[in-house]
């Protein structure tokens, strides 16, 4: 039984970590600017394809793992500055629709460039194989992904809680008007915040490509569960997104073992239950937009 359940649980947790990653990026952007970024998944996919192209042009995987998210940040920030900034002052429905339009365009563009079906993108040999954990064999790639995601989350937490800029960012998320009255350059905050979201999406995109299969719709497939994770964890709570992500990943993996047909619906059931008990999510506080 253990040999059957344990790998599923581990896989579920890794999937959950991906959800958490996307959810944190969405949460950061949504809480600071009121933008529900429906193009988040498109940027994630973009990072995957960029890494794929870099590797197929002879770049090493390790270099692509760093470069592709950076390029995604550049593209993302350019889109934010050019298209989304003019909408910050308007009703949030407009940025929602704009990013929706962008996701439609992106999906089709990816299809044009990289083809409608998935492309093979595999990690280097060293991450092949598996590592023995005593009671089970565990694939090295998954372990590597888990380590990278965990490290990135620690780095993000350090940035937000241990640097002056991070402190300002968190303050701005609490109260945008106050921080702009204090003289902080709010546009710079918006930009860095969006870039953070893009970096998280980019890293997740490259790592997910090796695991979930790289296709034009890969990012969008992660987007909806990420919204659910953000709702379960409580919007605006970094910790909530992580807990929510792992919880959803776990629920999915366990459900897949026993009732495979319900493995997507389970997260919505989880969401409904959480909302019944805590309308603002597990770790949600009264937010700006509540």
């Amino acid at each position: 039984m253990l040999s059957n359940v344990a790998p599923s649980v581990f896989n579920g947790l890794i999937l959950g970590a991906f959800y958490a990653f996307v959810a944190i990026g969405l949460s950061l952007i949504m809480n600071l600017t009121g933008t529900i970024n429906l193009a988040h998944g498109s940027f994630l996919t973009l990072a995957g394809y960029l890494a794929f192209t870099l590797v197929s042009k002879g770049t090493s995987f390790w270099f692509a793992l760093i470069l592709a998210p950076l390029l995604t940040v550049v593209v993302g920030v350019a889109v934010e500055r050019l298209l989304i900034v003019p909408l910050y002052k308007r009703d949030p429905i407009f940025s929602l629709l704009l990013t929706f339009g962008l996701s439609l365009i992106a999906e089709e563009v990816y299809r044009l460039i990289w083809g409608p079906n998935g492309v093979p993108f595999s990690a280097p040999g060293i991450l092949g194989g598996g590592i023995s954990l005593g009671f089970m064999q565990f694939p090295t790639l998954r372990l590597f992904i888990a380590v990278v995601l965990a490290a990135a989350m620690v780095l993000l937490a350090l940035f937000l809680w241990r640097t002056r800029f991070g402190l300002r960012l968190r303050a701005a998320i609490q109260d945008t008007e106050m921080i702009s009255a204090m003289g902080t350059n709010i546009q710079l905050l918006y930009m860095v915040n969006f870039a953070l979201g893009m970096a998280l999406a980019g890293l997740a995109g490259v790592l997910a490509s090796g695991l979930l299969g790289l296709s034009p719709t890969m990012g969008n497939a992660l987007l909806m569960p990420a919204f659910v994770v953000a709702i379960i964890g409580g919007m605006g709570s970094l910790f909530g997104s992580i807990v929510g992500g792992l919880l959803v990943g776990l629920a999915i993996s366990v459900t897949t073992l026993f009732i495979p047909a319900a493995n997507e619906v389970i997260m919505y059931i989880l969401m409904a239950v959480v909302l019944l008990i805590r309308p603002r999510g597990l770790f949600g506080t009264e937010g700006l937009f509540g």
Binding site: L83, R90, L102, L104, E108, V109, V228, V265, L275, L276
Partner: protein
Amino acid sequence: MNNRQKQGYIAAIAAVVLLAVLPLKIGSHSVLSLMHLDVSILSEMLLFAIAAMSVNLLLGYTGLMSFGNAAYFGLGAYGAGLSIHYLNMNFIEGAIIGTIVALLGGLIVGPFLLRRRGIYFALLTLAFGQVFYFIAYRANEFTGGEDGMSFPRPYFGFPGWHTDLHEGSFYYLMLLVFAVVLVGFWLIVRSPFGRTLQAIRQNELRVRYLGLDSNKFIFVALLVSAAMAGLAGALYGLLIMFAAPLMLDWQQSGDFVMIMILGGAGSIWGPVVGSLIYVIGKDIISTLTQTWQIYIGALFVICVLAFPGGLLGTLLNSIARRDVGAPISEETVPHKAWESGAPASSAAVAAEQKES
């Protein structure tokens, strides 16, 4: 009856007459066939207009960002399809059952949505909408799963009389349904209930401090919206004789919101104009190019950036300066200034004194 109302009636009648004569043939051609359009595209246009009106009731009138109305639309289509496929229902029964199924969906999801406002409301509609997508997707023995389900279009009629609907007569039936829905919608937004919804959009707190339970109003608005979307979905299912998970998807919801914004939120005619542009535009673009999704996406982006009041709203504004409906498009900045208790402008004071 004032002038504006009169103009409204004339415009409404003119529009319906125009829609009625479009498919009529003069000699061997009609306006429609000259444009290389099929009559069923007009049916689709009307049904998408009803679906967009259902979003308009929430977003344009009540101020609630619903990004999940495709769920009700799809539930309508599946409700009609399943009842026809498994229970041999006729046309009218199928349409009614589809509407009721969507209404039930609203009843289940509504209490969850009611608790939040603003972008959190949008997020919840987005998330809860997907539940039905996955149910349809996964219950493949029953619903055909990803491939969707085909079903025949039953005869239309009552006990004692019935007829088969071909594309032409189907369209005229849709025109009738559309006219009824339009009049119903018009009556709703002008009723005391509809006025209260518009008040909620502007200031829900004040509505509560006038002794009204705003949640009750919002819940009913959600149900009406769900039923409208469900009716549109059921009839759309009957039009294409097909139901598929994509009809329930958030991207479909996005299309409805966009149709409404294209024409202008908070106005009766906005969704109709938006639907005309969207459905016919999409049909034309998709015959010209495989990559039509890029152009639709670009249309959204341009419309959001360049015509925040919608095409109809922008057009009418440039003619009459006064907005047709409630402009959710307006920047929130002036509101903020007003809320922070900005001193009354001396111009406003002077103008009042002049009048008194």
